[in-house]
């Protein structure tokens, strides 16, 4: 099986072959194929949304996805939650000497597939190869450009007391899918990463529903962390109804086994939407009509009480604090 060597990063013949035979072959389009130092993009009359993210996940093939899929969806979603239509992606690869060529091809093919699904073009890129042990197999950075849709003004500043909070589906699947493949926790789970491009769903939502105040994707640290970020510097509190938070039995059983709280487990394809109460029902209907929003649920609201804090109402009707994550959720025995 052929492997990536330092020569592939030298800029010479092997680099060119790598670019032609893998990157251009799978990701090619009219912009990329020009192979200029920068991609010259058509004029657009709209505010530009611009984001960047780096992906270092391990294992890089996991149940429900891979690092390539993640690198496209993560950046697409970061644009989409701000009300922008994602259009162009740039990507940088850092490859560790010794990476299997076959793995690289699979990852790039995955990126091509999901870019097509999301409707974005990869218009520029870069590759570097580093010595063995200088990088963990493969790191990918993607930057994304999107264009803000007319009439949308999303921001934390729009949030007011009485607004409702929606989550677009089952939580904790991504983190559990990854844990199931980690060395000693080795268990067979039905959980698949929820990594997915959510832009079409969110465009359908903003096209048909008014009153959306703010959106954010709930990634590392889980739903609890993202809610705390939203509440943190503001003069409102958040109350979550524990019973309404959608969690699959599959993710629940893994959390029961390992002593974890699903509210703090990572997601990759879930958005928290703060919305005017009056628009809640319509928003849920639109989301549930999309394959990535089937389990969308209204889980809480913005409150006057307990500003800057996130509280949880338990099934028994009592309330407790749902605090900030202090460190990586670690499976416990005691």
């Amino acid at each position: 099986m052929s492997k990536i060597t330092l020569a592939h990063g030298s800029g010479g013949r092997l680099t060119q072959e790598l670019i032609e035979n893998i990157f251009f072959k799978h990701l090619g389009n009219k912009f990329l194929n020009k192979n200029d130092d920068s991609a010259i993009l058509p004029k657009e009359v709209a505010n530009i949304a611009f984001t960047t993210d780096s992906f270092v996940i391990k294992p890089f093939f996991f149940p429900g996805g891979d690092i390539g899929k993640l690198s496209i969806c993560g950046t697409v979603n970061d644009l989409a939650v701000n009300g922008a239509t994602p259009k162009y992606i740039g990507c940088g690869f850092i490859l560790e000497e010794g990476l299997d060529m076959e793995d690289l091809v699979k990852i790039v093919e995955s990126m091509a597939h999901w870019a097509k699904v999301a409707g974005v073009d990869i218009v520029c890129g870069d590759t570097k190869v580093v010595e063995k042990n200088s990088a963990d197999s493969i790191f990918i950075n993607t930057s994304g450009i999107g264009f803000l849709r007319d009439g949308l003004d999303l921001g934390i500043g729009n949030i007011s007391v009485g607004d409702r909070i929606i989550v677009t589906g089952n939580i904790a699947d991504h983190g559990i899918a990854l844990l199931s493949k980690r060395e000693v926790f080795d268990f067979e789970s039905e959980s698949l990463s929820d990594c997915a491009p959510l832009n079409h769903m969110l465009t359908a939502l903003t096209d048909s529903v008014k009153g959306i105040r703010f959106m954010r994707d709930a990634t590392r640290g889980g739903v609890a962390t993202t809610l705390n970020e939203i509440a943190k510097h503001n003069n409102f509190g958040i109350m979550v109804e524990e019973e309404r938070v959608p969690v699959s039995d599959s993710a629940r059983s893994a959390c029961e086994l390992l002593g974890l709280d699903p509210m703090y487990i990572a997601n990759e394809g879930k958005v928290l939407i703060v919305i005017d109460k009056k628009s809640e029902a319509r928003a849920l209907a639109v989301l549930r009509n999309n394959e990535y929003g089937k389990n969308a649920a209204s889980i809480g609201e913005i409150t006057q009480d307990n500003p800057n804090m996130v509280c949880l109402r338990t099934p028994l009707g009592t309330t407790r604090i749902l605090g900030m994550l202090t460190s990586d959720p670690i499976p416990r025995i005691c």
Binding site: V184, R320, T326, S327, P331, R332, C334
Partner: protein
Amino acid sequence: MLKFIDEYRDKGLCMDIAEKIRAISKRKIKIMEVCGGHTMAIRKNGIHKIIGENIKLISGPGCPVCVTSIEDIDSILALSRIKGLVICTFGDIFNVPGTKGATLAKQRAQGADVRIVYSAKDVVEFAGSERDKNFVFISIGFETTAPTAAAAILQAAEEDLNNFYILSLNKTMPQALKAILEDNRADIDGLICPGHVSTIAGIDMYNFIVDKLRIPCSVTGFEPTDILTSIYILTELVEKNQAKLVNAYKRAVRKHGNEKALSIMDRVFKASDTQWRGLGNIPGSGLLLKDEYLRFDVLHTFKVDKVASIPENECICGDILRGAKIPSECRLFRNICTPSNPRGACMVSSEGSCAAAYRYGD
């Protein structure tokens, strides 16, 4: 639907039991839950808030991480500095600081080979497949976990592994219960007895509490219905001035426990005196390897320097572990002592009373 879990989380049933508790609760009483798992379950569900004003739930010392002495934490950290020795630990210990603020997490960031494991069995497998390294399993836990460590040692012996070790920090409950309950500071009226410790050790160890100390005991599971039913049982017994031992966790606890697990424990371990953080030395409450298995004791093979530990003067964890005081009565609670900067036993583990009170708030 998670079988043998969700049935005991029925909201209607729980609210019903809570109402019945409030109906019979006339006197002001204190019920202690010994086990950290019960503390977590109570706080997480807010059970302490629906049983009325008369019943105060007090957390006890059943949090193995909380009661691991700081000297033992320092020993673990010292072991992590030994080249070629891989530290294998449950996640619970990973972020617990030693005397100088070091943690296994920080040690790992500095290059120490520290692995979080789910089971002692995993460590035996590591040792079997990576013969060029030495592996030490940091064995914490009470009677529930000790047999699993013992089983791992027997497996290592059978596989003739010379690179598998344990650091035995296991403790047993009866002596600690005696020490706490015979000390009158806490003035406990009823005891929610540990569930899974009893699964292994049986329920006879609680007889002295009922017979001699006249405190009713209920062996309890970890789901809301289990805990609420036990609180009802105990409240009723206290109101009637009756001291009885009730097994309210029959699905997992037999009177004589798990005899096979106990015999394996007995084969590998012997009782010893040991330090409980916050409670001092409790004779006969520790477990050390018997001579036949001493070769698996990491301290028998690797030398570790003792670090002089500095006691935290204003920490009242000892009183909290005994149930004599609650977290909010500690000067350090919340301002100096927090989960990311714990100063005492009750804050170091997420299921310690102070950590639970901090995390879930009130």
